[in-house]
Assembly symmetry: C2
Homo-oligomer: 504 residues x 2
């Protein structure tokens, strides 16, 4: 392939260089904003070269050589993985799901700022996160006038290009040039006190241009790569996830019949993961037509729904497709380009739009408590799993805020329904519906003790139900307030017991 067909702006040609040379231009200690959202659209070469450089520096005695890493969300082993293994990340934001990062965060070796994704770009532009020194952004190609064809994720890329003092571009020849036209960038969004309405009223609408833009004088390196994204395959839906999907679809049907939802529902948001994907598979077989999606990542299940016609359009900030689904996507990209819009995560997750569109938010959880508080981020209160991601953006502003999980984990040793969650990411005020394979609890309009009864009866696993009812009954007789009765000495005892005995 002639790389000049991908890099049509001649002024950038002299800046083409190997990844190692580009990585050497990143100052130690810098705040670096990289592209990437799930395993899509992240830079493939510079992070690895940077990790090698940092490892060499560490071996030479510069043991603290590192960067602070900002991204769209999670990335892939070639970015988070290699940099973490090289002990090259001092601070990480706003989201990660990498095993090495997780291990270092929980070992106190990496600082992690776990943020609502819709907050990242506005806080960065307001200067609340400090100065962005370098942006490292994967693109598909560069037009003669310098406009850039965005890759398989958008995330915070335009914000990083706007804010960074220096830019490194990775042009990935492996990405499909036919992605061109699928994106919708909002440039120069006015900040308070000059804020304006965002003129989107349907997931399929566009308000910007299809291209990333940057001051090309800030580009200090262009690196050529030719590597695929790295997203994992999903598990086939199992019995538990199929039961969760069944309860959820029954509920949505009831809502339509009661006139509380239109027959084609409202724009769907779906979290990432096997349970979420199983729900999408259920919806693809279900009774609803002409659905739409206003979501964060477009995963296999939504691609299936677009192909079947059940879903008429989808708005997201990233493609999170398994290798098989990605091949199908690329084979039919003209079909998908008419039905998919990829946006900045500030727009995909914007409270204004989620509220206006009336999104149905379907997110997975680690655990919920009897009063409807949800933990999305922590294991046994202290250790991070991944992070809150966009779940709070959607749950807080959605028309329906749904959280789901199998009722037990670790072969039945852990209950997903507990007296009090060990970390609170979504409070009782923000959770409408909880679903497990046992059933669905509709919490709308209920007082805390009503919620508790319903969650335990409908969602808890039978093996934990008697213990939960016992906790509730004793809390109600304890003399504490009866609005949200708790036994403070026992509220977190299930987690404590698990840490001590391996069993809740």
């Amino acid at each position: 392939m002639n790389i000049h067909k991908r890099i049509q702006n001649a002024a950038l040609h002299p800046k083409i260089m190997p990844a190692a040379q580009a990585a050497s231009l990143i100052p130690l200690g810098a705040n670096v904003g990289m592209s990437g959202f799930t395993g899509a659209g992240y830079p493939k070469a510079v992070p690895q070269a940077l990790a090698a450089r940092l490892s060499a520096l560490h071996a030479a005695g510069q043991t603290h050589a590192s960067i602070n890493l900002w991204t769209g969300a999670s990335t892939a082993p070639e970015l988070d993985g290699v940099l973490a293994k090289a002990h090259g990340i001092q601070m990480r934001l706003p989201y990660q799901s990498d095993p090495s990062c997780r291990q270092q965060i929980n070992a106190g070796q990496m600082r992690y700022t776990d943020m609502h994704l819709s907050h990242v770009a506005p806080m960065a532009r307001a200067g609340f996160l400090g100065t962005l020194d370098v942006a490292v952004v994967e693109v598909v190609g560069i037009l003669p006038d310098g406009r850039m064809m965005a890759s398989t994720s958008v995330g915070n890329n335009q914000t990083w290009l706007d804010l960074a003092q220096h830019i490194i571009l990775e042009v990935n020849l492996h990405q499909n040039p036919a992605l061109e036209g699928m994106h919708d960038m909002a440039h120069n969004m006015p900040m308070p006190p000059h804020g304006q309405p965002i003129a989107l009223t349907h997931p399929s609408e566009r308000i910007g241009t299809p291209y990333l833009q940057a001051d090309l004088s800030k580009v200090m390196a262009v690196v050529i790569t030719d590597h695929p994204d790295r997203n994992s395959a999903f598990d086939a839906p199992n019995e538990v996830s199929a039961q969760i999907a069944g309860h959820l679809i029954d509920f949505l049907q009831d809502e339509v019949q009661a006139g509380r939802l239109p027959p084609s529902l409202l724009p769907l948001q779906s979290g990432v993961g096997n349970t979420a994907n199983a729900v999408l598979a259920g919806l693809n077989q279900g009774p609803f037509d002409q659905m739409t999606a206003y979501t964060e990542v477009l995963q296999d299940g939504m691609l299936d729904m677009l192909r079947s016609g059940k879903l008429s359009c989808a708005s997201a900030t990233a493609l999170s497709l398994s290798p098989t689904a990605l091949a199908e996507f690329n084979a039919n990209i003209d079909f998908y380009r008419q039905r998919i819009v990829l946006r900045p995560e500030e727009i995909s997750n914007h409270p204004e739009l989620i509220r206006r569109l009336g999104v149905i938010a379907m997110n997975t959880m680690i655990e919920a408590d009897i009063y409807g508080n949800v933990n999305s981020t922590h294991i046994m209160g202290s250790a991070i799993m991944n992070g809150i991601g966009g779940s709070g953006d959607f749950a807080r502003n959605a028309r329906l805020s749904i959280f789901m999980s199998p009722s037990v984990a670790k072969g039945g040793k852990i209950s997903s329904i507990v007296p009090m969650v060990s970390h609170h990411d979504h409070t009782e005020h923000d959770v409408h519906i909880i679903v497990t394979e046992q059933g669905l609890a509709d919490l709308r309009g209920l007082a805390p003790t009503q919620r508790a009864r319903l969650i335990v009866e409908r969602c808890a696993h039978p093996s934990f139900r008697p213990q939960l009812l016992d906790y509730m009954d004793r809390a109600q007789r304890s003399g504490a307030g009866l609005h949200t009765p708790h036994l403070l000495d026992e509220a977190l005892s299930w987690h404590s017991r698990y840490l001590k005995t391996g069993q809740m």
Copy 2:
């Protein structure tokens, strides 16, 4: 006074009746939506007549005779107080601050659904809260064509008038007819999937009409009253609240100097209460000019700022003025009508607008924990205090989310900074700044263990600081994850100890 000057629609004249007769038209067990937001604009007569009727029914053996009460927010003794004392409220939403309600909720005798105020109208209109049987709304007057002059609060009044099957109007002759023109009602706001942008870009702008509207055929009674609103006087700022205000103003000045806020700041939101009022008094003496407010209630402090010219305009959903301030307001109402807009609480608290305007949210809290989670609602985990009100609407979507409290309560027996809050209303993801009289902790962009160090050093009272540092140190050495290190057996022990010994 000629009441026909206040009730100019002749069709309503035959429906004028005594409060007791109107109250008798409310079905037992009904969902009743009443006006009222703080001690402003609530119906003054029908609730008392209803309470008398329910008490009589109870005495006659109908021990469960009651209603479900929906309002804008808190009300006054003549509404929440009398109905609670009559054991006449089975379920209450979305907010209360009445001693009798609180006592009954915490005794398990009244169900309470504590909601984000911006969620109430959309959830009611979507049918998520059930059917609204009766609306009881105070108005100032009725025009010949049936349009109604709204009172000192707007709250959910238009929504109740739209949704209720039957309407009772209280025309309060005591309210100033010169309030006419101060309100901005948005009628028939389109629901998803037909949502549209809300065309407000400045707190002073208007998008609707000044009048409430209703299908007059639904009006089953009109009751004449002549009683003042009942709002309490504020305490004069004391040393502690003045210190909190001082830290906050220093911080805001630093932000302006760093270019992160404009010189006139961004629209202010202020919670209700003495500390919040002291901060407003501080701002009125402070260095900022041409400020604006986009808030929920307009209290004495903001009125002072409007009069001094420090504040150029204020948007709110209710006036929450002490008797002295109310007299001054009425004496100069033409001045204030040019500077105040009263809106539905769905608009005053709307995430779209709070985010777009870049509101600086300043709310009081009961307690914060070392990681920055905030409890706004519960005493020692189980008992409700008031409710979340609008604090979550503002904190989540604000440009700056600030929470404040004195560092100790009950003469030093309770610390407002604890290892883990006993109830979570605002999570670590939503809290930017914590202020006590000890100092201010700026948490933006920090990882949990950094936040903990800062909150303890800056905000905790010296008498609790060693205990907090000891907890942090032992949690970090405990072998639990080091992202948010907790000792699960001790995390809530301070609250438990207080319940047992009266001292944290």
